[in-house]
Symmetry: C2
Subunit: 231 residues, 2 copies
DNA sequence: CTGACTTTGTGCGCGCGTTCACAAGCGCGT
DNA sequence: ACGCGCTTGTGAACGCGCGCACAAAGTCAG
């Protein structure tokens, strides 16, 4: 999505064999990983591309091409070794070591995120909760004590991911603080366009946008059926 | 629009004037709408594509092409009329009438969503809260009383959007209930692949996936800098 | 050992989306 | 009235991603 980053990343690969994993593939790797965990707990040792694709909700050809991108080889006539594949994908996603997450903004949404157990289960762990409201500093949520946002530089470690769950007005300021503290990957929940320097990855989750997209399709479907009924 | 050119480009153009709006464009319309609201409150009456693109974080050419898709005309040499554009986009997204939202699963996440004021501000409004837990039925959140999920058929109206915020195990069951009640647009927060019949739009928001994508890029950046340092 | 079956890995064509670049159109100053 | 400059709208090229279809490769039965 970000052309500048694509340009920087694409042009460096002198002697690299392990290089270009397409963005669309990266976005699906977590889905495969989740499906594989379910299959592993079900006792499966190997999976065919057809079965795994079914479980992940994608086409089998797409899945095979995705896996071929990260050099992970299956066995022809048999399929993929589940355990091995989990390790391959986890390694590719950088989940073999716990990924540290720093959450800024412990309001309605931040509280829900902090209390969510689904992150810690697979290599992701929230390490720190930060807020600017003194009334919330000191509060303990899910075993973590909320700290003041001034302590941000001290709780950030190399490779940390920053999560912004503050009001939109404070989001850019918090974003700048995160970048200044050395964070290069940020997930933003605030409904505002953030600006980050080159080299910093920024993703956003915008619930209003999702709902409005659905609203559009609903509206379109209604218009179509009305037209069909009148015609 | 020019019907002759439409005939050249698309294979079917009998009497159609309202053309196909690309999916990628639809996904950006909410961003334009948000930026336009800010501009309107700032007192701007017209906006150039350059300025609006800047505010929405996209390229100006992309923005112009997007707007041209929905037939909304600006004025050359001046730009777009802010108020008019807001109405055009709102109408296209079906936001001129309040869009009814039904939220199923009032846990950590559902509670945050229910208490969020950002939806109601622009044509979106949560109309009902549902849960299967009798201990939560009757609770009042943000002025709405939590009802039992059995009452789902009664609270669904034509054009409703369903939101699933239940545990993954219950998500497919709830999804089926929504579909059976006539809902054709669903937003899913549960980390599981849902199956819906044709004609039903399904979108998902998966926070773990977002974080894992960021983890991948963080991992890749770390590998690159390490390689650069050693080389 | 051989042959047949199963499943992977991928080459190729197609359609969508993005970007560049420019002609057409509109207002404004003179 | 008339050009001048600004902005829109869009034609065209490019790149990415997806799906089909098949050859290569490995397994298993006999
Ligand atoms: N709650 C939802 O369901 C929901 C849905 C969609 C989007 N969002 C967005 O997510 C963000 C958070 O939503 P919320 O409902 O949790 O809001 P909230 O007001 O409940 O919480 C915001 C928190 O951020 C803290 N904060 C404010 N300024 C800060 C700063 N400069 N540094 C650190 N912390 C600061 C506040 O003290 C508060 O605790 C908002 O931008 C909102 O638009 C929320
Ligand atoms: N909390 C988060 O930050 C977060 C983050 C990412 C994903 N999620 C996902 O969102 C979903 C909800 O998360 P949560 O933290 O709110 O969970 P939760 O357990 O706090 O809440 C789930 C709610 O759903 C209700 N429920 C269960 N079965 C139901 C059914 N059949 N019909 C109706 N309601 C039913 C429960 O009574 C409960 O109130 C989960 O799938 C979770 O994986 C949550």
């Amino acid at each position: 999505m970000d052309p500048s980053r694509l340009a920087t990343g694409a042009l460096r690969a002198p002697g690299r064999r392990r290089a270009n994993v397409p963005e669309a593939t990266v976005a699906r790797l977590p889905l495969y990983l989740r499906a594989l965990h379910v299959l592993a707990e079900d006792g499966h040792q190997t999976v065919s591309s057809e079965a795994l694709a079914e479980a992940a909700g994608v086409g089998s050809a797409k899945l095979r091409k995705d896996l071929s991108h990260l050099g992970s080889y299956g066995t022809r006539g048999v399929g993929y070794d589940v355990t091995n594949l989990v390790e391959q994908i986890s390694a590719e996603l950088g989940l073999e070591h716990r990924c540290s997450i720093v959450l800024v903004g412990v309001g309605n949404l931040g509280r829900a995120l902090a209390g969510y157990g689904g992150f810690a289960s697979r290599g992701l762990a929230i390490d720190a909760l930060l807020d600017a409201d003194q009334g919330r500093v000191g509060e303990v949520i899910a075993g973590l004590t909320v700290q003041h946002v001034e302590h941000l530089p001290q709780v950030v470690s190399t490779g940390s991911i920053g999560v912004i769950a503050t009001p939109a007005l404070a989001a850019q300021e918090v974003c700048d603080l995160l970048v200044a503290a050395g964070v290069t990957s940020i997930l933003n929940f605030a409904p505002i366009v953030l600006t980050v320097p080159d080299g910093v990855d920024l993703r956003k989750v915008d619930l209003s946008v999702e709902l409005q997209i659905l609203s559009f399709h609903e509206h379109r479907k209604a218009a179509l059926t009305a037209a069909g009924a009148s015609a």
